[in-house]
């Protein structure tokens, strides 16, 4: 990946995270962005999952900052939902790789 593409990816991820801060659709948009920028299907899907994981880690940071992390680990369904949502939306968003003209159908 060249430097320009990396820069675009970083900006897209940051912008998507900023959007995710106010609406969940940011998680989907982030997945779309990294999927479109990826050079292959495996990289796209990995990038989508990675974006979801990054969003979740950022979320953990916000909980840690206000002293809510300990209780979060015991939150059961809420914990599972908050893990599953960014990973799923990031992964689904990364399917946007298929919109590229050079994406293979194989």
């Amino acid at each position: 990946m060249d430097r320009r593409r990396v820069l675009v990816a970083v900006v897209a991820v940051v912008a998507s995270l900023a959007l995710a801060w106010v609406h969940w659709v940011g998680l989907l948009v982030g997945g779309i962005a990294v999927g479109l920028l990826a050079s292959s299907w495996p990289r796209a899907l990995a990038a989508g999952l990675g974006f979801g994981a990054l969003a979740w880690l950022l979320f953990l940071g916000t909980l840690w900052r206000v002293g809510r992390l300990a209780a979060y680990w015991d939150a059961g369904l809420l914990l599972y939902a908050s893990v599953g949502i960014p990973l799923a939306l990031g992964l689904v968003g990364a399917l946007a790789h298929g919109l590229r003209s050079d994406a293979s159908t194989a």
């Binding site: 995710a20 106010v22 659709v25 998680l27 989907l28 950022l58 809510r68 790789h97 298929g98 994406a103």
Partner: protein, 794 residues
Amino acid sequence: MDDVDTARRGLVAAVLGGVAAGGFFTPASTYLDQFAPLSGDVWASTTDEPPSRVDSEYGDATLQYDGHRVPHIEADDEAALYHAVGYAHGTDRLFGMDLQRRLMRGQLSAVVGEAALDSDRFRVQMDFARAAEANWTAMQDRDPEAAGLLEAYADGVNAAREDQALPPEFELLDYEPAAWTPADTLILQLQISWTLTGSFESLRRSVLESKLGGSFADLFPRRYDHDSPILREGVGTAGGDSSGGGGDGSESRDSSPVSGEFAGWLSGFESPPGIGSNSWVVSGEFTESGDPLVANDPHLSLLAPPVWYQQHLDWGDGWVRGVTFPGVPFVIIGENHAGAWGFTNAGVDVLDCYTYDSDETGYGYGDEWREFETDEHTIAVDGAEDVTVTKRKTVHGPVVEREGEEVAVAWTGFSATATTDAVHAMAHSEGLADFREATRDFDLPTQCVVYADRDGNTYHKVTGRIPFRYTDGERVPGWQVFDGTAREGEWEGYTPYGESSWDGFVPFEEKPGAVNPDYVGTANQRIVDDPGYYLAESYSPPFRGERLYEVLDDWADSGAMTAEDMRDLQRDTLDTRARRLVPRLIDAADVEAAGPPFDALPDWDYRMDRDSDGALAFAVFFDAYREELYADGFGAADLSEDYWPTDWVTVTLENSSWFDRDETPNSANAAMRAALDAAADRLADEGWETYGEYNEVSLEHPFGQSFLNYPRLPTDGSPATLNNYRRDSDAGSSWRMVVPMSEDGEASVVLPGGNDGDPFSEQYDDQLRAWADGDYYAFDREFEGPSIEFGGGE
């Protein structure tokens, strides 16, 4: 190839579009809006922190938390102070406050659906909301200053509600709370008063007597045979014989005026078993320091978060610290610059039921025919059709109806009361004289208050308005269901949903009490052997009361009691049920042959400690013994477990006609032998190895989601010990407080949970383990946590 590309792109676009559309336009949107990390409303509610500055038209105030989320609030002006208190309650406990007012207003179904409809129907018919409004109207005339403080408090709650993200429970239930009002504060006071004095015991007893016949008196004695009333001989009672009789009156009846189902339904709206309290005051003559000691631990439903909220308030020339119910601004139990006080439930009868000759429109009242006062009320139900309830009232109070059966209810709480003024005045009291004056206005609920001041005075008094009942001009006891048409059981000076003169009630001076007693121990037992008038239908079994006096009497001989002694007494686990029953069990059955843990009973010290084999054996045996004694006999009479006798009867029942019935054991000894076998089987099934595994604190949030519940912890104590916990109904010591009046004394307190209602906060349950282990925190605190400055508003 182009076609393939186009198809692939179309498919991908369709998937992405479908996911996005599904996220916006299907039920999934609710989950995404609530739980998506970073943006989810549930997370916003817990990561949102209060602002550091809040505009307040009431003036400057400072709020700062300690490490347990206990706020210290300081202001020169009281309105500014209580505005900040409202902000703290609105920040930390808004959901619980809203839930309680919805409960009392009959508005739960609107957010939780049909499951709460029965509760809403009852409370709408009782019209607690109208009682609160009447109270608010009266308060504005009677005490504009205190009324102004309630308004400032309500504005504070609403400021927090508007400034900050709503607590997660609101997001999960998907509704927003309405603005808080002073009437909401007053309806919360009604809620706790109802919990403590709302009793349909007369109805239950009428059902029991008609169904059990000759066994009734053995199973439901009106008076327990013990020598440990709260005010014992030699202690002034302030009542006396001059107040007249009223203790006579037959309870016998051939048939109950209501069915067991109706009485059972109404009883479902009383407080759960285990509501009571311990408190005591010891004068300086018997303490090491020479200054009095005050201890209190009210036994209420234990919830996540707790029913109490701890707060420390300072208004420049005075201070108060202690606990209140979130939604009520003033400290209810605690200490101020001059003294300390606590409450236990008095068990006084302040509710009567009336039946009438009636039809759909009216009822007979003496020689008159009166129309019901009626009002249509619509109950909103989430996920179902609205339900219309016709509220009806008679001269006595509201009519409660279910499936064609009905009674009218008179209760002191339906009238306006001055309790709010009294609680406010207690916080400002400068010593015994002030506190007694404040107690005079404490109209509801009927409580035993104990107090000591820093001048060395001690005090005990029964609070609350207590009716005399009159039939044909004669005083009659309130342990019966009255014929309203015959004008039986009339209360004089009582106006439901209005202002009462209380002229026909027990005068303050004649209510039981003692000024400067040596020491007084209150644990919901009989208040005084002969008050000179009808006071209560029945009292709690005296297990805790007799143990309390046993220890205080013992320690009084040394004259050197300390605050640590008082904490030990609050942690006392000796169960006098066991002390009575276990010797009988050992005589009746071979406990050695039953194996462990039952073989530990002969050498057991009767202490309900978590690691005690004897405690586990006794607890499981006692459950089985009740089952053997009552299950079949009451079942044959169509009476549920809720009607079973108290533990006092269980441990004392020996020679009774109850054992002559076909459905009951032949004797108490036979029941014990069968119970021992059943207990061994249950232990094998459950696998409990310690009493702590049986006696687990398992406190749940009203919402029922597991992540909102508290962690499960083993604890000591039983329903009959001073260290009080009732596992079957999750009731027990809801706040433990020991306050010495000496300057260097260490006041100590603990809550069963935490002060913060946010389930993700570390302070949601940070005191639970200390509570379960019998530990305390110093009442003195370091307030170095988050702070909020109030002021500058228009």
